[in-house]
């Protein structure tokens, strides 16, 4: 079999198994967490009879397996189900709100990678000079800044202070693309800064790791300059650990997005999830977590595949396995 194809198929199979296990785990955990949606709906005036009646109306008194089967059946046909808390079919809402979050997360991820590659490499190459040292210390400091604080500070400076960007809110791009972009800037910057700081540290150490490697010495001996050799050969090798970390960072990026959405009042999937957890809205929580797991797993799959491109050793290993 074509080694690349084999790698791809294995990765896809792994992804499917992960998704099935995740669905079982999500479903089970949600039912073990303390807190009853019927009770939350009825609040401080609840009577035991009303709680019982509400559990029945929500369908929570049915066997757990029936509930799971119904959920999975719905998922396979593309429906997340109707939330008993909001009374709405959540499919369109979950996908749309995920879409909003991706508008913030993906540009932040790309920008953070670009920024981190440039700064990390530079600070590794200049590690004995002041500017390299400044980047290194700066990124360490920025790593310690919570996304929440970064967001609040950005709003104070660039929105309330300078008036360049609106402090919060969201505009649907097709309504006004300009307004959409201006609302997007601060959340993306806030998320990018914190992520870039983390990734810069990884790029720096990855570049430092490869800088003493034989192939770089060989490249230098062919007459390439130090930075030339690093750019043409070193980065490619340094990319392997950085990519791995990027995949892992993705989940922290989604967590960061929850905070950023709150600070900037962005109607993303994070704020939807927080509301749903507060109300123990099982249908919505299950749907969102499943989408997030699927996204993370699929992006990790993409990262794996990109690995096999960046690192030919993985392909040959596959061929001999």
């Amino acid at each position: 079999m074509n080694p690349t194809l084999r790698t791809v198929l294995l990765a896809v199979a792994r992804t499917l198994v992960t998704l099935i296990l995740a669905s079982i785990l999500i479903f089970a955990l949600l039912r073990l967490v303390p807190g009853d949606p019927a009770q939350v709906a009825l609040g401080v005036d609840a009577t035991p009879d009303a709680v019982e009646a509400t559990r029945h109306r929500f369908g929570l008194d049915r066997p757990v397996l029936t509930q799971y089967g119904e959920w999975i059946g719905g998922l396979l046909s593309g429906h997340f189900g109707t939330s008993f808390v909001t009374g709405q079919d959540m499919s369109a809402i979950i996908l749309d709100r995920t879409n909003v979050t991706l508008w913030i997360v993906l540009p932040s991820l790309i920008l953070a990678l670009l920024l981190a590659t440039a700064l990390g490499t530079w600070s590794a190459l200049r590690r004995r000079r002041p500017e390299g040292w400044v980047i290194s210390v700066g990124s360490q400091l920025l790593m310690a800044v919570p996304g929440f604080l970064a967001g609040v500070l950005l709003v104070m400076a660039f929105s309330l202070g300078l008036g360049w960007f609106p402090p919060s809110g969201w505009v649907v791009p097709s309504d006004s693309f300009g307004d959409f972009l201006s609302h997007l800037v601060l959340p993306i910057v806030a998320l990018t800064l914190v992520q870039a700081a983390v990734l810069t540290r990884f790029v720096r150490s990855a570049v430092l790791d490869v800088s003493g490697a034989d192939f770089l010495v060989e490249a230098r001996s062919k007459g390439l300059s130090r930075s030339g050799a690093m750019l043409r050969h070193g980065l490619r090798n340094a990319a392997v650990p950085v990519l791995t970390v990027t995949g892992v960072q993705l989940s922290s990026l989604l967590v960061g997005a929850v905070v950023i959405e709150t600070v900037f009042d962005v109607p993303g999937v994070g704020s939807l999830l927080v509301d749903a957890v507060g109300q123990r809205d099982m249908v919505t929580i299950q749907g969102i977590v499943m989408v997030l797991v699927a996204l993370t797993v699929l992006i990790n799959l993409a990262v794996d595949l990109v690995h096999t491109i960046v690192d030919p050793r993985l392909r040959t290993a596959g061929a001999h396995a």
Binding site: A92, V172, S174, D175, F215, S271
Partner: protein, 552 residues
């Protein structure tokens, strides 16, 4: 995803854009005679075409996942685009889970809908007086059990249905039926029969005289529904009020549009949008940035000082019905001993708690009765702050130096109050350990339902909720038989008797039995642009009356 042609178009574009950059970069790297590849020329050769395929596949997957449609956020879009001149936007911080208060409790739904969309036969004025609404007038027979209501003429629901005596019968019978699960429905239990005498006259017969019933008719259980409007209460609201719901984006915004066919004086603003923010600071920033005209129900008083100094804004502080009640489980040690409860009452500096938890805003009331209730009495003097007395009582009860657990919901005012209480009680010889619990889910389960707690604190916001608090089986653990006689005679008597007996009841429960320590009454805080008028100052019920709100 619904078939939105618009979105499908956009989906492809950003996918391609996202792809270009990394692809170009990688191609540049491919071109270089990289050393590791030379080590495995065969693999490199074989992989060349499929590598691009894999890359394409990956990017297509990412692109599809990005769903980068140009209508991202359409499910949260409020109706302000194309809003009429004079439209008002008000920020709130607690989104309702849905629009159905018949099956969902909490203040958020009636806050938005009562008085604005739904109306009752009677209403409570800003200072807590009963005033006519959908009933022009009413009479009570001498026995105090038969109420005859004369209804407003020419009233229509927002779906066009007429409001008649039959609608009243339908609405009240529905409260009594299983369709309602909100616990407040208990206020309607005293009703024996409802009859439509003629299209504009309704006769309601009670099982026994009840002073509390008519007041409860001014709250959400008195809301009038049309039989054609109750099929999808979670997502739609059809009432007789001055506004109709024109857009509801769950958790995000609710848009109310003025009804031109409203039976009474029409609302001042053509449209009011309520926008829900997860964070008070973000809401305040939105006010500064011009996205909203006011923030109502501010729960973070520390946000207010900068606005108070700025003449472009107005800050108002009124009274609410939110009593912050520090409960002591009357049925569990050590608080099953009245001496220990009294010790806590003497040992906690309520003024100090209010200062640290709510910036000193609010009202010290001494009992779980707001000043707007007819039987309110200032009971602050009953248990003054006297640490020495507290210590003596603790020693007498034999619990001096012992430790209790304080189950605190994770709400800012509750946590701040608890911290102040802990330091006060430590000084008098009671160690308190704070256990912060997620609110509502975990707190409701452990404290409210299982009564598995020693101390807790929460604001009870429903008007006239005193008898609920003291009720048999409620989490405070109070022995209702202590006040049952007074409760019965108060409810059955005339207004003067009601006030007299309710006052006696409060004194017995709060002063004699030290049932719970009412720390303070939450203020109704609002923050608005100075050009916005008509936002109510007080909150005598949970409703936020929007009919007089307008922009200058």
């Amino acid at each position: 995803m619904p078939p939105r042609t618009h979105g499908t178009d956009g989906a492809a574009r950003p996918a391609r854009t996202a792809g270009t950059r990394p692809a170009t970069r990688r191609r540049a790297l491919d071109g270089a005679p990289a050393v590791p590849e030379q080590a495995a020329p065969a693999a490199s050769f074989a992989a060349a075409p499929s590598r691009r395929a894999v890359l394409g596949l990956g990017l297509a997957a990412v692109g599809t996942l990005a769903l980068a449609a140009c209508d991202a956020g359409y499910t949260a879009r409020d109706a302000r685009a194309g809003a009429p001149q004079g439209a008002v936007t008000i920020a709130l911080t607690a989104p309702p889970a849905n629009l159905d208060f018949t099956t969902t409790s909490g203040a958020a739904i009636p806050q938005a809908l009562m008085g604005n969309v739904y109306e009752g036969l009677v209403a409570l004025s800003d200072d807590g007086e009963l005033v006519p609404q959908l009933a022009r007038s009413w009479e009570v027979d001498r026995g105090g059990t038969v109420y005859t209501f004369d209804l407003q003429r020419g009233v229509a629901f927002s779906n066009g249905d007429a409001f008649t005596a039959d609608t009243v019968v339908f609405s009240i019978e529905r409260v009594l039926s299983e369709a309602w699960t909100n616990g407040l429905k208990a206020g309607m239990a005293v009703v024996k029969t409802v009859e439509a005498v003629d299209p504009t006259t309704v006769r309601i017969t009670l099982q026994r005289p009840s002073q509390a019933w008519l007041r409860s008719m001014a709250t959400l259980i008195g809301a009038m529904f049309t039989p054609n409007g109750v099929h999808a209460l979670q997502t739609s609201a059809i009432g007789t009020g001055p506004f109709a719901v024109t857009s509801w984006k769950s958790g995000q915004s609710l848009t109310l549009t003025r009804r031109d066919d409203y039976w009474g004086e029409p609302a001042a603003a053509p449209q009011v949008t309520l926008r829900y923010f997860a964070d008070g600071t973000t809401a305040a920033n939105a006010l500064r940035g011009g996205a909203v005209d006011a923030v109502a129900g501010v729960s973070q008083p520390e946000l207010l000082p900068p606005f108070e100094k700025d003449p472009a804004y107005r800050v108002t502080e009124g009274t609410s019905t939110g009593e912050v009640v520090m409960s002591m489980n009357n049925k569990a040690a050590p608080f099953d001993d009245v001496r220990v409860r009294k010790a806590v009452m003497y040992g906690v500096n309520r003024k100090g708690v209010m200062d640290s938890a709510y910036d000193g805003r609010g009202t010290l009331i001494g009992a779980p009765v707001p000043p707007t209730a007819p039987y309110y009495e200032d009971l602050n003097g009953a248990y003054p702050y006297e640490p020495a007395k507290a210590t003596a009582l603790l020693k007498e009860a034999g619990v001096f130096g012992s430790t209790v657990t304080f189950s605190v919901p994770d709400l800012p005012y509750a946590v701040a109050s608890a911290q102040a209480v802990v330091s006060d009680l430590k000084k008098v010889g009671l160690n308190v350990k704070i256990d912060v619990q997620e609110f509502p889910a975990v707190w409701l389960q452990k404290v409210l339902t299982d009564h598995a707690y020693q101390m807790s604190v929460i604001a009870h916001v429903e008007p006239d909720d005193l008898l609920t608090l003291l009720g048999e089986g409620y989490y405070l653990g109070y022995d209702y038989s202590r006040i049952a006689d007074l409760a019965a005679s108060a409810d059955a008597g005339d207004t003067a008797t009601y006030v007299r007996d309710m006052k006696a009841l409060v004194r017995r429960a709060v002063v004699d039995d030290a049932v719970a320590d009412t720390l303070f009454l939450l203020p109704a805080l609002s923050l608005s642009r100075a050009t916005l008028h008509g936002l109510p100052v007080n909150a005598p019920t949970t409703a936020l009356d929007l009919r007089r709100v307008s922009k200058a």
